[in-house]
Amino acid sequence: MQTSVNKKSERKAAYIFVIPAVILLAVFLIYPALQTVRYAFTDYNIMRPDRIKFCGFNNFAELFGDKDFWIAVKNTLHFTVLVVPFQTILALALALLISSRRGGVSIFRAAYFSPQVTSMVVVAILWTVMYNSNPSSGLLNALLVSLGLEPSGFLSDPKTAMNSIIFMSAWQGAGYQMMIFLAGLQGIPKEQYEAASIDGAGRFKSFLYVTLPGLKNVIQYVVMITVIQAMKLFTQPYVMTKGGPQNATRTLVYYVYEQGFQKRNFGYACAVAAVFFVIVISLSMGMKKIIKAE
């Protein structure tokens, strides 16, 4: 009797505690998400909120024949497929470098983490200046020329623009993953390394058979969040290239912004957003399945 009363009041308390979170989620996530789906079936132009007409699946039909949409899908995948391994390996390498040091760990940790603390907009503007195609003003091109190499177009050449963004994004983002790896490295018992070295394992072998298996869960987590972050790429193309040149850096989220705000096709942008949502959800569910199967 006593226990069931307790349980009841506990339950009540639990609801009360949950309410603020539920309200916040409902107002800022669930409601807008549902609205997005609703607008995806309308011809909503942002300038005329009073003249919204239902248009069935028109937006989706248009979307599948839209060349720019498919380019955005391709660019988003290009970015994700390259940046995830690059950034993860870079972060792991930095973490290993730092953890193998005795002195100055906190200095290096802070140094590698500092790009992460800086706003992406600031970083993007700085890199735009460094990537300037003109050797007399672009730092990286000045470097290339002084080494006797040909200057590169970087952001103004459609062949190199996306890769330039990938490199800069990995540099900016690796610090965060490095911190997670560092924590993971500390969780690997010292005894395992000792045992390995007694068995005659060198540095490389103990990395391969002790460190990597010990970090398995951490790596899975890092890859997962990097993929989701990478899919949402927006700031860099917005600040650095405006999706150009020749569509080379137009990503899905940038396309949503461009259609919705610049061209004011809000209904169409919502349709793109809805498709984007489906892509991201299925991607992360797929990844979860693969991880579970292992």
Binding site: A26, P49, D157, P158, K242, E258, F266
Partner: protein, 430 residues
């Protein structure tokens, strides 16, 4: 159990719906009972920010107890950031009373009922004092939807030392402005080492259509038809493609940079530039050692039409304004003869009121006289079409694509098609 959770969620959802709906009915009155009038305009140079501070104080002092004027300065960032902010305010029905918009956007907002006509905001004798070019840009469907204090123009700035060294002719009158061929040859001759011959990219947002449309007009076409309903056959006409190819030849030859550094001309890294009227005061103030001059906008070969850009930011009144009497009072204050003159002086742009030129006599003398002359005689406002936002973004993208190797005809075809698609989708039936 689950049912309860669903019920809570639904209740929260409905609440959130109510919350978004109640945001708009707020009355624009402060605790003193004064009608609060809000102005949005782009943040600007210190001199103009100070002008706002002074004028708002002056206005509020003389209207104490009745009207309280306030301004929000919004960063524009050489991009479409300001328009993004307006778009967000339109969706949330939370526009300010007075909204500054760039010239070509006046028709966009007017066509969509975002702003209201101002014809009866000023007496006729006041309207008569405003420049025709400014009124033309701000008119949509026969009504005036915005009023500006300043105009703008673009002309060709040159580094006098570099031109003299290369022995290049400097045009003395509008009639012998450089032709495209002369412009090209000059840019070619002036490109040496790390100095390029010219700078044609003001910024990669609105700067591109603002400056470069003149090449279309001068070659006998334009971006869109007279009534603003069609881009196909104009933007991508033979003359238009020629204009784009000419501009591209400057970039491909290496005579102009696609990524110019900030103040490239000012820092003697470009021998000439297509620069705005506002550069005159920057050059006078911050680059006293630069030996520069300014001449007329280049004209297409074989008797092209002399043309130069016009249009500037102007104030419109939004549909969300509540106390129209107070708004009228503010507008009459902001655009009085005196305030147009002081504003134009502070921002270093040509004023829109004819009478202001009696006070600002510097516009009678070189170099500012060039801009005044262009404004009165060769100025062409940007297209007045409700699809301007799409046109502007598409044109910028097309030009950058052409500069990086896409065929001019193909890029312009795509831009024209996208613009026409927007017009036909939203505005054609009206």
């Amino acid at each position: 159990m689950k049912k309860k959770a669903v019920a809570v969620l639904l209740a929260a959802l409905m609440m959130s719906g109510v919350c978004t709906a109640c945001g708009q009915s707020e009355e624009r009155v402060n605790e003193k009972g004064e009608s609060v009038i809000t102005v949005w305009s782009p943040s600007d140079e210190p001199a103009i920010e100070q002008w706002w501070v002074d004028k708002i104080e002056e206005f509020n002092q003389s209207h104490e107890g009745e009207i309280h004027l306030q301004r929000e300065a919004i960063v524009r960032a050489d991009s479409y950031a300001y328009e993004d902010k307006i778009n967000a305010a339109i969706t949330s029905n939370d526009l300010p009373d007075i909204l500054y918009v760039d010239g070509p956007n006046v028709s966009v907002y007017a066509a969509n009922g975002i702003t209201i006509p101002l014809d009866d905001f000023f007496p006729d004798e006041d309207w008569a004092d405003f420049l025709a070019s400014s009124k033309e840009q701000n008119t949509y469907d026969g009504k005036i939807y915005a009023v500006g204090a300043t105009e703008s123009s673009v002309a060709l700035f040159y580094n006098r030392d570099m031109l003299e060294e290369a022995d290049i002719r400097i045009p003395e009158s509008k009639e012998d402005a450089w032709t495209w061929d002369e412009f090209y040859e000059a840019a070619k001759a002036l490109t040496k080492g790390d100095v390029v011959g010219t700078n044609i990219i003001m910024d990669k947002g609105e700067g591109l259509p603002y400056v470069l449309e003149q090449f279309w007009i001068s070659n006998g076409t334009d971006f869109v038809s007279e009534d603003g309903s069609q881009a196909d056959g104009y933007l991508n006409s033979r003359e238009g493609v020629e204009a784009a190819e000419f501009l591209n030849s400057l970039i491909q030859g290496g005579y102009a940079n696609i990524d110019p550094i900030q103040k490239e001309f000012h820092n003697e890294k470009a021998a000439t530039m297509l620069g705005g009227s506002w550069e005159v005061s920057t050059l006078e103030k911050d680059y006293p050692n630069l030996n520069w001059g300014v001449t007329y906008f280049p004209v297409a070969n074989n008797g092209g039409i002399p043309s130069s850009p016009t249009g500037d930011w102007s104030a419109s009144v939004t549909k969300n304004a509540q106390d129209l009497e107070a708004v009228r009072e503010v507008m009459n204050f902001l655009f009085s003869e005196d305030n147009v003159t002081t504003y134009a002086k502070a921002i270093s742009k040509p004023p829109t009121r004819v009478s202001s030129y009696d006070v600002l006599t510097e516009y009678n003398e070189y170099p500012r006289s060039i801009f005044r002359e262009q404004l009165m005689e060769t100025g062409h406002p940007r297209p007045r079409t409700p699809s301007y936002s799409v046109l502007s973004a598409e044109f910028s993208e097309a030009m950058l694509n052409i500069f990086t190797g896409v065929d001019a005809k193909q890029a312009l075809d795509e831009a024209a098609a996208a613009t026409d698609k927007d017009y036909n989708k939203y505005y054609a039936e009206e």
